[in-house]
């Protein structure tokens, strides 16, 4: 069992309170997934030419300022860093290729969680309520967010195995369920040069969809292919720079419920995670049907 949550602010005034809406959702879904949690948050674009890189380190004493100095000196790129707990966001003009090349040469005890102009990803072990508090999720602002609470069934409990998974830029995915063919997908993708970071089944779905998008499919088309290619049980909630997208597999034995108002779209595994939202009693509430692609634009 796992929990998924998503929130998209249609009324731009709600963007200031995004974290306040999402944290109770994530905390409530801690009952479905108490071992680890994660949150992807999409905020305003950085100025042209800049990207955000989210990092996780398991070494609490890691010297991020030294890291920043070394990075700026080596790449000659503009660079700033925000550090909270085990997490850092590097904002830089360096391209993903430059950052990856530089990281590969250093072997720092850090893990790159996300890349993009809007996305920041946080994930860690522990109860979602504790993680939300440690990283200050409540204060987060932005247009939309996707969160996950994990009860691991198929691979290790670790920050790297927690969701959301990302691939490419400004794309992330959370998953409730289990895939039965992640290794065959992985073997096919690896032959095409796609690199994997964990043995987690969800990473296969995430990289499959991102690979299709790089090949030119819109996400919706990639998902239609996914219905044929991904074998197993899944409710998948994805976010791009300006969208939330939700699908359930043909069996639809992993839950999801959507509450839509003029002000917001909120998605969760269970209604009780939505019950605190303002105006939810008057919202259009529905259960997404199998193999239908639901998409909302921020």
């Amino acid at each position: 069992m796992c929990g998924i949550v998503g929130f998209l602010a249609r009324d731009t005034r709600l963007r200031e309170s995004l974290g306040e809406f999402v944290v109770p959702m994530l905390t409530c879904m801690g009952e479905r997934g108490p071992d680890s949690a994660g949150l992807a948050i999409f905020s305003d674009d950085l100025p042209d030419g800049l990207r955000r890189y989210s990092f996780y380190t398991s070494v609490r004493t890691f010297d991020w300022l030294r890291f920043l100095e070394d990075f700026a000196a080596a790449t000659e790129a503009t660079a700033e860093i925000d550090v909270v707990e085990s997490h850092a966001v590097l904002m830089t003009s360096a391209t993903p290729a430059m950052v990856n090349e530089w990281l590969a040469a250093r072997r720092d005890p850090i893990h790159l969680l996300s890349v993009g102009r809007k996305i920041d990803v946080y994930k860690d072990e522990g109860h979602p309520a504790d993680i939300s508090r440690r990283y200050g999720f409540t204060a987060f602002t932005g247009s939309h967010a996707v969160g996950h609470t994990r009860m691991a069934t198929e691979s290790a409990v670790s920050p790297a195995h927690a969701h959301p998974f990302t691939a490419g830029e400004d794309f992330c995915l959370v998953h409730n369920g289990s895939l039965s063919n992640p290794y065959s997908i992985r073997r096919r993708l690896e032959k095409k040069g796609v690199r994997f970071e964990t043995d987690n089944d969800t990473e296969a779905a995430c990289r499959f969809l991102e690979w299709r998008m790089r090949e030119g499919d819109p996400l919706e088309r990639a998902l239609e292919r996914g219905f044929d290619e991904l074998d197993g049980f899944y409710t998948l909630l994805m976010a791009t720079a300006d969208k939330l997208v939700l699908v359930r597999d043909a069996f639809a034995c992993k839950p999801a419920v959507v509450a839509e108002t003029d002000e917001y779209v909120a998605i969760s595994s269970e209604y009780r995670a939505l019950a605190h939202l303002p105006g939810v009693k008057g919202a259009r509430i529905f259960e997404p049907v199998p193999e239908q692609i639901y998409s909302w634009t921020a």
């Binding site: 034995c253 839950p255 419920v257 269970e270 939505l274 009693k281 259960e287 199998p290």
Partner: protein, 231 residues
């Protein structure tokens, strides 16, 4: 006039609510009516009742609402999550909104009414209860249903009545597809009477003209050694 008790889940745990409904309420005798406020999607509300009481849950509720119900009449004024009225034995459970998966799963007796849509696997493995759905049902409804009646006023999703035993399904709208061993049979006088009686009890107009009857072809009842490769 019923005597009314209001219980507010804003200040009461689910366990306290259910203990009251199990122990204190029956000891007060008949004629009591309980309003449950602020359900907020909570699970396991009014589970295991065994007294002739009325319970109204005022809002959307979560999973396993009114499971194992006996005698009681439970109404949810909102939607419910998975497995409402699971294993219902008698009494009635009414959902004014929609129900998620597995509504009335394994129900032995009593009446379950979903006024709007029920999701997939409605009436899965039902064993004698009656279910009336005002809207449509999702895929694999009445899977392995053994006894009882499922009436669907709207449409039915894929695989209706797969591996059906002796339960009978009546559908007023379109059927996406039938499951293995389920087949459409002609509506007889007693079928119309059975549907009309259930629609009336459920509070819907007793118009039965458009209903189809789905029952088991019974071809899966016996193992055919010569057809082993077909299983």
């Amino acid at each position: 006039m019923d005597r009314l008790i209001q219980l507010d889940l804003a200040g009461l745990t689910v366990r306290e609510l259910n203990q009251f409904l199990h122990q204190e309420l029956p000891s007060r005798g008949a004629g009591w009516h309980v309003d449950v406020l602020n359900p907020n999607g909570m699970h396991n509300l009014a589970v295991g009742l065994n007294a002739s009481v009325d319970v109204d849950i005022r809002g959307h509720a979560g999973y396993f609402i009114a499971g194992m119900n006996q005698q009681a009449r439970v109404t949810v004024h909102g939607n419910v999550g998975w497995s409402v009225a699971e294993n219902i034995m008698s009494g009635s459970v009414r959902v004014k909104g929609c129900a998620s998966e597995c509504a009335a799963a394994s129900g032995h007796g009593g009446l379950v009414v979903i006024e709007q849509d029920a999701s997939s696997r409605c009436g899965i493995s039902m064993k004698g209860c009656d279910i009336v759905v005002g809207g449509s049902v999702g895929h694999l409804s009445a899977f392995m249903a053994q006894a009882g009646t499922l009436v669907v006023r709207g449409n039915a999703g894929p695989g209706l009545g797969d591996s059906l035993y002796e339960a009978v399904i009546y559908v007023g709208g379109e059927i996406h597809s039938l499951g293995a061993d389920a087949r459409e049979e002609p509506m007889q006088m007693e079928d119309h009477a059975r549907v009309a009686e259930l629609l009336t009890r459920a509070g819907f107009p007793a118009e039965t003209g458009r209903f189809k009857r789905i029952a088991s072809a019974r071809s899966l009842y016996h193992w055919h050694a010569d057809a082993g490769d077909r299983y």
